[in-house]
Symmetry: D2
Subunit: 330 residues, 4 copies
């Protein structure tokens, strides 16, 4: 039996706590949250105890921590957990500052603890199916990857201001997916972006609509299109053009009902947002993390993947600021 | 060069005249129509001459006639044309009376002229594609055929009254498709039907909604669902369940445009009605008829196919009237 | 907290036990199974106790039983549980004999306990979505329901022999769906059927391929097409033609991946079989049963629904045996 | 009756000649082709006369010429035809040299003759449908246009060498579609490209795979993905993300047949290449040109559209050569 502790019992923390509770080899021993009510309610729900970070890290029975707190606390918690010898699952990003990320990952490396970054999309059954067909070789060599990634609506100004901007907050997932699918590091990046969806995005100096192009040394390439507002719902698609054909992952619909009337043939919208679309992915990523605890095999995105995705986000920001193509050294 | 004559220059006659004009081996020499203006305009359009039926049949240069007049004239025109030694293309049906059909086909047989019945659906590129895959054997043996055939809206009362009823007017096409796909004569038929779409259908004693089940001696079966009113347009689909899988022909959409909004994902309706959906089929059936003139190979539905489809329509009427399953001897 | 007992811990019993364990208002107190190992393993997994039927029924703390044993034991267990005052969830059917069903439901009625029949398809999110649109009235009046229901492959001879035949074993679900969607009792039934998929079906005197037509007094109608073997997987679709349009529920695919190659555009097969396709339905039906325990509202199929579906299955058998249309009095 | 002359009776010339023959207001009076046999056969087919360019341009009865010769002759023929006062339909491009294009269009402007450029995709019924919905305003303001444009296979080395390269030969159509849909001139362009499909493309110094990003002053943007080799056929899709939703035009399939087997659900490939996919577009563009002759309204792409698309192709070449973002002044 593996004992885990949840650090941060917000929306995503609840999801991971539930995943732990469904795994017969694990027990969620502790719940840590600044909000006492939330901490107690969550602990009760999962037969856990409320604890402080120190209590968690000092308990030798704890095998792993799940860091689901706000971004600004991630790096500190990773370092402390690493020094305490705990395996770590951390929601992206490690930090918004690349210097801080570098320092933090240095600590992780020195301690040798496993660190899984929560790039959930790799565990979406549809994307994973696509990846497995790519890896099988049956579709030949990858040539061009197209990622469409669009949120249903722009977050409020308060969120945007602490988010690090769209590239570090939202596109960072797409950067990870692009690296994962290309299976080769891109060497240059070009981004163009606008603030088109709402005044508050523009006012906060952020963007909400973008095209980012990535080029690899071999000639493979990828393009990401982003929007913070898709009126038809959460739009998460991938297309891979390869020498032997094309693989496409389309959205998952709310149901398979279609309605034919004199107005046309109406089918259902994509699942509303990430909690719905990626429910299975969240389950699966925790399974893979737990499997890593048991087997010692880290078959998942690690700290270095988080660092590289952040470097790409930084490059996208620089590309927008300068209007130039940015070289990448990943 | 083959010389043809058009008997009846109405809506469907115009389509066939145009098909003839596009065939480099044919000339539409004559146009016959009771309406002089229509006859002259049509003749002018296709560089033809206006003529009477007698003039057409007495002209030894005429190889074939296209009978596109009203149903009640078909049998007479077939007999006269046959006796004049002309090859015949005739819109369905030969006649609404099976006795009259039998007598007429007897004449055709005695004269030995080719008679093609205008069961256009066999020449729809989509249905023809399905049939070719069936015939290739790659999908195994046919087990269950499902035909969905629904008009956009019920015809006016005046049309219904001279139509012979839905089974002889509309379902007759489906009976032909069923026979063609099953490749085995059904031995029993059961129909249930209602008048649901409009008062005038009910008043005229006809039906507008039906399910017809056909069973073959081998155990193969087929089901036809009909409606005279499909608010979303002309609905013409076929599904064949076979030992090795399932073949489906879906509708042809007006365009491939889809519109995603907060209301849902809207794609286009099926093509509006038979002139649009079966435009390519009408072209192709005339090509096959003309090809038959040239090669002598009658690779198309003949009088006997018309007769059998009418027998099935009659059986459907009897099934409705009696509430019983009807044995077929086709 | 509601205490439930599982009677029969086979494949479907495990699913329901798991659903109970996920409901915060319920506890699976007992597991009953003839196989001691299965009983103990299941009890351990869900923190339950192994017990006998008597122990379960004599425990005043037990609110409800889940009958998931073999068919031949259903009626007895229902009667005993009803007499013990327990609410009952029972997998279909009550019994294969209509006389036994009538007697059993008489006991249930006298005791006044709730009895939910496990017609899971009503709780499939896709079918439920279709039903909700129908009930909203936005698509007008129902005219013609088409149910396609096809298993991936015929069960073994041993299963067929105790199954009561395809109509009572498999089509019974479709009869329930038809009644549920039509929202009007059919007054006549016609079935045609064959044994086409395998020798052992034929040998056991059963059928594997069928078309069943249902007609209501109002003129509404429904058609069910069945096969015991669909090479492309579990095929579960519904189409409702109504005065204002058409509703269609298509299959749920294994993933949204499509693969375009020189061979064509390949998308994924339907989910493999009922455990996959109806996973959400099984969860939801238990939720509704539990909700009924809490609220006293029986918003689910009851014993009478099971009885009527069996009457329809019997009528289908009679129709096949006699070749005639059968009148229904439901 | 309008008299037209065909200059160049190759593959695309035949298509336009046929379109003229189907228009009741037009006569194809002359056919000009260096190959005498081709000229005579074509003239015979369309009841035309073989002629020289001089004879065509000196005939006062000729209203318009259709320039379908090889690219290197376009500019000269445009100038001569313009000076002869003939309306001109010309296949793209005017010329591969922007200086030559400028000089040529200067002549056209001075003579005041209509000049339509054969950007056929604007007349594809599917793209035209998308454009009409955009223009209706019902989907709000355009934000991001995605154009997928992929040929089935790379042309032979001989073709590539005289083509001006992929951007001027193939992408030029996509540049026109992008300008047409954006309805605003892009102000910058970035292209990344590789030679991945075949050795001979690489050897000839051309590219076959590319991503091109366009940005407008308002913040609207577009991305084009190209490949010279799509194993699944001619891939021509457009997606427009707008404030009120998303419009998508998908490929047109060879038929609506789908085949479900144990391998998966196979639907048909896109129509094979431009002659099939754009057959209706070719018909329609000639109709619009002829309509322009009759009404004097030039509702079509003109010389300036050809010039701007070439400027974009040149910018793409420069972007590849320099690795930089290129400013556009269109």
């Amino acid at each position: 039996m593996y004992n885990l502790a949840l650090l941060g019992a917000g929306r995503i923390g609840q999801i991971h706590a539930n995943s732990v509770s469904l795994n017969p080899d694990c027990h969620l021993k502790y719940v840590v949250d600044m909000n006492e009510t939330v901490a107690h309610d969550t602990a009760k729900k999962f037969s856990s105890q409320v604890a402080s970070v120190d209590e968690v890290l000092n308990d030798p029975d704890i095998h792993a921590v799940l860091i689901c707190t706000i971004t600004s606390t991630h790096a500190d918690l990773i370092e402390r957990s690493a020094k305490a010898g705990k395996a770590i699952f951390c929601e992206k990003p490690v930090d918004l500052s690349i210097e801080r990320v570098n320092a933090c990952l240095q600590v992780v490396e020195e301690t040798g603890v496993p660190l899984m970054m929560g790039f959930n999309r790799r565990f979406d059954p549809n994307f994973a199916h696509l990846k497995s067909v790519l890896d099988s070789g049956e579709i030949g060599d990858i040539e061009l990857v197209t990622i469409s990634s669009r949120d249903p609506q722009a977050p409020p100004a308060s969120y945007i201001e602490s988010s690090g901007g769209m590239f570090r907050d939202m596109t960072i997932h797409d950067f990870d997916v692009a690296r994962w699918l290309l299976a080769e590091e891109p060497i240059s990046l070009y981004a163009t972006a606008s603030a088109l969806t709402s005044d508050h995005v523009k006012t906060s100096g952020d963007v909400d609509t973008a095209i980012i192009t990535l080029t690899c040394a071999s000639g493979k390439m990828a393009v990401i299109t982003n929007s913070r507002r898709a009126s038809y719902g959460y739009d998460q698609r991938v297309e891979v053009h390869a020498s032997g054909g094309m693989l496409t992952v389309n959205n998952v619909s709310e149901s398979t009902l279609s309605i034919a009337t004199e107005k046309g043939m109406m089918s259902q919208k994509p699942m509303a947002f990430f909690l719905e679309r990626y429910a299975a992915a969240y389950r699966q990523e925790l399974e893979v993390f737990i499997d890593g605890l048991i087997t010692g095999v880290e078959n998942y995105p690690v700290g270095e993947d988080g660092r590289k995705a952040l470097l790409m986000a930084n490059a996208a920001c620089e590309s927008i600021a300068t209007g130039k193509v940015i070289e990448l050294s990943l």
